[in-house]
């Protein structure tokens, strides 16, 4: 897109090429009293006027058309589409279908996404350490895909493409490779170790297969469950809408500013537990900052003791994840967002609406007045 102002400016800028012109220009600047500052002599601001409530996108996303709602995704833990007990062991079966689908990621912006089960992030798998997990994967997308789980499992279940140096090996050492369009495969493994994990498509080209939307949270609870809490899952993600290998839209759970428009309701003093994972492509780091509060953080969630205590900001590289635990002491509206301001203003921004309530969850023995 051309811009006449800019072209004109370049045309004019040519004059600055000579030293004499530069001197003259400086003289003229002085004469006209311009010092390049933003405030004039009267202390009056020079520029556009600041006012509240003018940032953010215009309009709302049609969640019904997308087929999923970010508020529902927060607490939509899938313990298995079919659960059976066998010899005292729990077997959890999940149906995963890869579908190409257009998703409205910010109001009016439609992203040609690749999804698991028509949603981004894909289903949040929830199980207990030691369970047998069976994922019946059907590829109904036009492209080949895989599902690669973070966890401990045999090579045959690792969900990676067959690289050049793997081609001569037996398939039980490499897995089936990429699952072509129209075909299916069942990934089966034991859920371990407990923690906050993730899964994503590992087909090549990897960057595109991830940032198109093929990922989700994979939560393995410890054998002794964590204390009861108001739990939610947050997948930090972003979208490159013009395919320039940089993101235009950032979010938690896909929809820019979703929890800004629909703040997440929590109660004063209730224990809140967030399962957080970063799947942002192209950017090196992402972060989570909680307003007016501090939290305990369990990096990767593989320990029962916090790895960081009393922090209000943590950072995650791509694929890094963890568990946050906190309680709000005061009612009101509290922001949470990436403390990369750019991401925050591009959509990764939400609000907790903390309300007073006599009912307190997970608060036994705690003093409150």
């Amino acid at each position: 897109m051309s811009n006449n102002a800019v072209t004109r400016r370049r045309f004019m800028a040519g004059t600055l090429g000579t030293g004499a012109a530069a001197l003259l220009a400086r003289f003229a600047n002085k004469a006209s009293g311009q010092d390049g500052g933003q405030y004039n002599g009267n202390g009056e601001h020079r520029g556009g006027a600041h006012s509240d409530g003018v940032s953010g996108p215009m309009g709302r996303v049609d969640h019904a058309r997308n087929g999923f709602h970010p508020t529902e995704i927060l607490t939509d833990f899938n313990y298995g589409d079919r659960v059976v007990e066998e010899n005292g062991r729990t077997i959890r079966e999940y149906d995963f279908i890869a579908i190409d689908q257009e998703v409205e990621i910010a109001p009016g912006i439609f992203f040609p996404a690749w999804t698991f089960n028509g949603r981004i992030p894909g289903p949040t798998i929830r199980c207990t350490e030691g369970d047998l997990i069976r994922i019946n994967f059907i590829n109904a997308s036009e492209h080949p895909h895989t599902i690669h789980f973070h966890g401990i499992h045999p090579a045959s279940m690792d969900g990676v493409p067959i690289m050049e140096n793997m081609q001569h090996m037996p398939r039980d050492l490499t897995g089936p490779g990429m699952i072509p369009s129209g075909e299916s495969f069942t990934y089966e493994f034991t859920a371990e170790p407990f923690g906050m994990h993730l899964y994503h498509c590992h087909a090549i080209p990897l960057k595109r297969h991830i940032h198109k939307g093929l990922y989700g949270a994979f939560i393995i609870d410890p054998p002794e469950p964590r204390p009861e809490a108001h739990e939610m899952v947050m997948v930090m993600n972003a979208f490159d809408t013009n395919f320039d290998n940089a993101n235009e839209v950032y979010a938690v759970n896909t929809i820019a500013f979703a929890y800004n428009n629909d703040p997440i309701q929590i109660k004063v003093n209730e224990l809140v537990r967030i399962y957080l994972v970063n799947l942002v492509e192209f950017d090196l780091l992402n972060s989570f900052h909680l307003h007016a509060n501090f939290f305990d953080y369990y990096d990767t969630g593989t320990t029962l003791e916090p790895t960081l205590r009393t922090v209000d900001t943590i950072m995650q590289v791509q694929g890094q994840r963890g568990i946050l635990e906190f309680r709000y002491r005061f009612p009101g509206m509290f922001m949470f967002h990436a403390h990369v301001s750019e991401f925050a203003e591009l959509g990764w921004m939400g609000m907790f609406h903390v309300v007073e309530d006599a009912t307190i969850i997970g608060m036994e023995g705690m003093n409150h007045d």
Binding site: R8, A28, G36, G47, G56, F239, L346
Partner: protein, 397 residues
């Protein structure tokens, strides 16, 4: 067969002539309809995504924020979904036009953004398909509003660029009256040289602005075609006038051509000031004043041997100089590339016409005095004319 022979032998009846005239058009319409209904190109296109293009026509900064005037110059509609300013989603209002901008339609976006004076900003418009259209604001400065005070200030710039130099140049008129015919030819040749420079300069300026004209309007070809047509039209006006060889008439023609050229210079100065290039603008004003002094000599040269009334000098000055005022106003308040290209091209045609006429004057004089038209004297004058313009242009280029 006999009837066919009969018609070809005798003049055709009127309805037959209409049929012959309209027949090919009917066939053309039928073929276009067939082409569009059968869509034989679907093989090539398939399900290709739309080609989205947006062009920024104008960016206005004021205390309310940023206003952007857009034109869809692509083949497909563009739906504006969101606006980013400096990598942040920002509210906006479409005050003129629709969210879905059809081909060659316009829209105006108002963004209440607290821009900072003297700093750079980038606005990115996101379409519904996620295509991004960046709009660069290299240095944020309040866009002058068309208040009477601003209007006067811009008008004054135009006077400095156009009227004052032309009037100063005309002050050489008494001197021109004292010189002999050989030196007079030198001055005429100098005028031709100056005008040749202006013609080249105007065409290049027009081509430069043509880049900003939406593709549909074919800015580049427009420059050459409008130049050619305006040249021929002004020649025709001259030939059909009652006094085709009047030297005063020629002086008016020169003033007209120079007037169009000065319009272009006014545009440059006005745009520079509107962009906040006040320092460069001040520099340009001085440069153009010096640069344009020769223009007055050019206007005075053909009438040196006559004695026109004083009012003619006033009118000649206004005709050649006043368009610079219009130029600064357009450049400052309502720059439109298409309009600028058309004005500049008309100017180029007008200048070429006076080059042609003044050259004829020199040729006739040479014939009368039985000297070669391209004498060393005349070549010297031509070279001097070009050289003066070339070197004074250093001040503004």
């Amino acid at each position: 067969m006999t009837s066919m022979n009969a018609t070809s032998a005798s003049p055709s009846p009127i309805w037959q002539r209409w049929l012959m005239a309209l027949g090919p058009l009917v066939v053309l319409i039928a073929i276009v309809a067939l082409f569009l209904s059968s869509d034989p190109l679907s093989v090539f296109t398939g399900e290709v995504p739309p080609i989205e293009e947006l062009q920024t026509q104008r960016v206005v900064l004021n205390s309310d924020g940023i206003t952007i005037h857009l034109l869809n110059n692509g083949p497909d509609p563009v739906t504006i979904a969101q606006v980013l300013v400096d990598d942040a989603y920002w509210h906006f209002e479409i005050t003129d036009g629709d969210q879905k901008i059809n081909r060659l339609e316009r829209a105006t976006l108002e963004i209440p953004y607290p821009w900072v004076e003297g700093e750079a900003h980038e606005v990115v418009i996101l379409s519904s398909t996620g295509v991004t259209f960046p709009v660069e604001i290299a240095v944020a400065l309040e866009t002058p509003e068309a208040t009477s005070k601003q209007f006067t200030a811009y008008g004054l710039l135009g006077i400095y660029v156009g009227i004052i130099p032309v009037a100063l140049g005309l002050l050489w008129y008494p001197f021109l009256r004292t010189i002999g015919s050989r030196w007079m030819n030198f001055v005429l040749a100098l005028t031709v040289g100056m005008l040749v420079f202006l013609a080249v300069d105007t065409i290049l300026e027009a081509l430069e602005v043509a880049v900003e004209v939406p593709g549909t309007f074919q800015g580049g070809p427009l420059v050459y075609l409008v130049t050619l047509l305006s040249f021929l039209a002004i020649v025709a006006v001259g030939r059909n006038s009652k006094r085709p060889d009047s030297r005063l008439f020629l002086a008016y023609m020169i003033a007209l051509g120079i007037g169009f050229h000065n319009l272009g210079e006014g545009l440059a100065v006005g745009t520079a000031f509107a962009l906040g290039e006040a320092s460069l603008g001040a520099f340009l004003v001085v440069g153009f004043t010096l640069h344009n002094i020769t223009e007055g000599i050019g206007i005075a040269a053909p009438i040196a041997k006559e004695r026109p009334k004083l009012i003619h000098f006033v009118l000649l000055t206004l005709l050649a100089g006043a368009p610079a005022i219009i130029g600064t106003w357009l450049g400052g308040f309502a720059f439109d590339p298409l309009l600028a290209v058309i004005f500049l091209s008309i100017g180029a045609g007008a200048i070429l016409q006076v080059v042609y006429e003044v050259t004829r004057l020199i040729l006739r004089s040479a014939e009368r005095e039985n000297t070669p038209a391209l004498s060393w004297m005349n070549l010297g004058g031509l070279t001097a004319g070009i050289a003066i313009m070339y070197f004074t242009a250093f001040l503004v280029a």
